[in-house]
């Protein structure tokens, strides 16, 4: 059911990093291999390994070469690649999360209007542009596609706690949207963005080049750790989290914001196990079963 695993490409990143590209193009298979290899490496965790960073179709490790001999580490990584293979039979314990989204909200709309000179289509909003170039009849149809099937968190990073998500649909149904021509200098916190084949949620306010479709009332980064979702850690998202975007209206948005301010808001989350082979056999059926746990 899965294409034969491609041979990975290994590269030294100076004296402290090894960079591993599992595939040149994005696919759930490549990402799942990155998750499986880095999960196995975490269990082995040799002395001197400092950071293990899975990404979309690649991963990197940071290590101390005074403790861990570089070629020994490289051999260990290659052996893991061989053991994991196409990762089809790996079952990854993870979570299903529900993220409420106010699409076409006033804050990202106000922001995008300030940066039309940096956009491909100055006369349309970001979401109108994305709907049009992806062949949707109108924005409502586009929102139905964006929120209809779940998303796999393929990487956490760029800035603290920002999740990149890849939609769990066959390639011919993937939404693809270029980034802004030139990055904006401003993006509201918790903007739901889109660039290439990835949706993201901006964890902090700041510069950004992804198209802006809406905003979530759910905090995803809390360095003060004052909200209940952040008791254990200041970053909410983990690689491999499965996300359902649920469209909400302004009234529901305001109600959630009031819960956040009262310190009672929680992101709905349920533990699940994800396996690649059954998903690839029947993506829509598998997704429907995955999302049942949210009911």
């Amino acid at each position: 059911v899965t294409a034969a695993a491609q041979e990975a490409r290994y590269s030294w990143g100076g004296d402290e990093f090894v960079f591993v590209e599992l595939a040149e193009e994005m696919s759930l298979q490549a990402n799942f291999r990155a998750m499986a290899i880095t999960a196995a490496l975490r269990e082995q965790r040799p002395d001197g390994l400092l950071d293990i960073c899975p990404a979309n179709a690649s991963y990197q490790v940071r290590y101390d070469p005074d403790v861990l001999e570089p070629h020994a580490l490289l051999a260990q990584l290659k052996e893991l690649e061989r053991q994991v293979g196409d990762a089809a039979d790996v079952a990854l314990p993870t979570r299903v999360l529900e993220i409420p989204v106010l699409y076409r909200d006033p804050w990202t709309t106000e922001t995008l209007l300030r940066f039309r000179d940096r956009h491909q289509d100055p006369d349309a909003t970001d979401i109108e542009y994305a709907a049009r170039i992806n062949g949707y009849g109108d924005v409502d149809e586009f929102i139905a596609a964006h929120s209809g099937s779940p998303w796999f968190t393929s990487m956490v990073g760029f800035v603290a706690g920002l999740p990149f998500k890849y939609q769990m649909v066959p390639r011919d149904r993937q939404i693809v949207v270029p980034k802004y021509l030139r990055p904006r200098t401003d993006t509201p916190k918790q903007t739901v963005g889109y660039g290439g084949c990835f949706s993201c949620i901006y964890s902090v306010r700041g510069a950004g080049g992804y198209q802006m479709f809406g905003i979530t009332p759910a905090p995803i980064y809390d360095p003060t750790q004052s909200l209940p979702d952040f008791t254990d850690f200041m970053v909410f998202f983990r690689p491999a989290d499965i996300v359902k975007f649920t469209p909400i209206d302004r009234e529901q948005y305001d109600a959630h914001v009031a819960e956040v301010e009262a310190g009672t808001f929680r992101i709905t989350q349920r533990p699940v196990e994800f396996a690649l082979a059954p998903f690839l056999d029947d993506p829509d059926g598998y997704n429907a079963r995955l999302l049942e746990v949210l009911r």
Partner: protein, 323 residues
């Protein structure tokens, strides 16, 4: 005896930094810490602190600070004469500041970042194993941000010893022409042989876009190999499927103006990286001011490890000299 330092003027961008935090880069939280680790450690050793104590990193323009208790301090790194109540003091040498005295700094005369260690260390809370400031994430340091006028910094207890001085041969010099050693790799196969030669043969000039996240250089456009863009990468020849960025990696958006990511790096993104600066040579990048003429010099992994060993040996000599 612990105490405080009152910030009368903050300087341009003064932050609390130590040797950084490890283990959270997979969630987008970079190591942070002093950009010039050698000078940071030297400043601590000079006052008699643990080498990894928190210090103030001062960029281009110094702060004005009032001490509420007697302290021993040392300033290493960029050339920026310290003054106590207006009277000049040496750098790379520890000296006393009495309660009530004002520490200020002269104009920058070489390098870019100075490190001020205070006996007892800057005693802000430890967050994820470090006191370092990560500004983009509003994390660590003093309230997660650069210092502002009116801030009151807590300082730990520790007597310190004045009059300790670093030997001349263990003080780095900061020129306007520098060589930065790199290991080529990552996505350097996206460059043609001509593009690769251009990267290594160009004398790059540091632009004013140079901060704790990254240092951007101008000088030439790099020729890339033609291709059909892989799914998810984007149309520009410099685009890749968003990948993790090593600290010190050099990305080249649009095939012009390489950016060296430093210790507050964004942890990943969609631009080809073509080389990685050796961890020790990030100190050289840190001390580059805009306009610094920079050559990237290729070494292989063995060469990089030899440089690393040299650097460790140099630090050992400094430790011995200041023990």
């Amino acid at each position: 005896m612990s105490g405080t330092i009152e910030v009368r003027k903050p300087g341009l961008s003064t932050t609390v930094q130590d040797t950084g935090r490890t283990g959270y880069y997979d969630l987008g939280i970079p190591p942070s810490g002093g950009l010039d680790q050698y000078s940071l450690r030297a400043a601590n050793l000079l006052v008699g602190n643990p080498e990894d104590a928190a210090v103030l990193e001062i960029v281009y323009l110094g702060p004005e600070l009032v001490f509420t208790r007697d302290a021993v301090v040392a300033v290493a790194g960029a050339v920026m004469t310290p003054k106590v109540d207006g009277e000049e003091r040496p750098q790379w040498e520890s000296f006393a500041v009495a309660a009530g005295q004002v520490l200020s700094f002269g104009y920058l005369a070489g390098g870019a970042r100075a490190y001020l260690a205070v006996s007892g260390g800057v005693d802000v809370p430890v967050v994820l194993g470090s006191r370092s400031t990560y500004g983009l994430g509003a994390l660590g340091g003093f309230s997660g941000r650069p210092l502002a006028a009116g801030d009151v910094l807590p300082v730990g207890s520790g007597a310190g010893r004045a009059g300790r001085s670093a030997p001349d041969d263990l003080r780095p010099s900061f020129g306007k022409d520098v060589e930065v050693r790199v290991v080529m790799g990552l996505y350097d196969h996206r460059l043609t042989p001509v593009g690769r030669a251009t990267f290594l043969d160009t004398t790059w000039s540091l632009t004013p876009v140079a901060d704790r996240i990254g240092f951007r250089y101008s000088g030439a456009e790099l020729e890339t190999v033609d291709r059909e863009p892989p799914f998810g990468a984007g149309q520009d020849p410099s685009n890749i499927v968003d990948a993790p960025y090593p600290i010190g990696s050099i990305q080249v958006p649009g095939s012009v103006e390489p950016i060296v990511l430093h210790r507050d790096a964004v942890s990943g993104g969609g631009y080809m990286m073509v080389a990685t600066v050796l961890s020790g040579d990030l100190d050289v990048v840190a001390q580059s001011a805009p306009g610094t003429r920079t050559r990237f010099v290729e070494v292989d992994l063995d060469g990089a490890l030899a440089v690393r060993a040299d650097r460790r040996e140099r630090l050992d000599r400094l430790r011995e000299a200041l023990a």
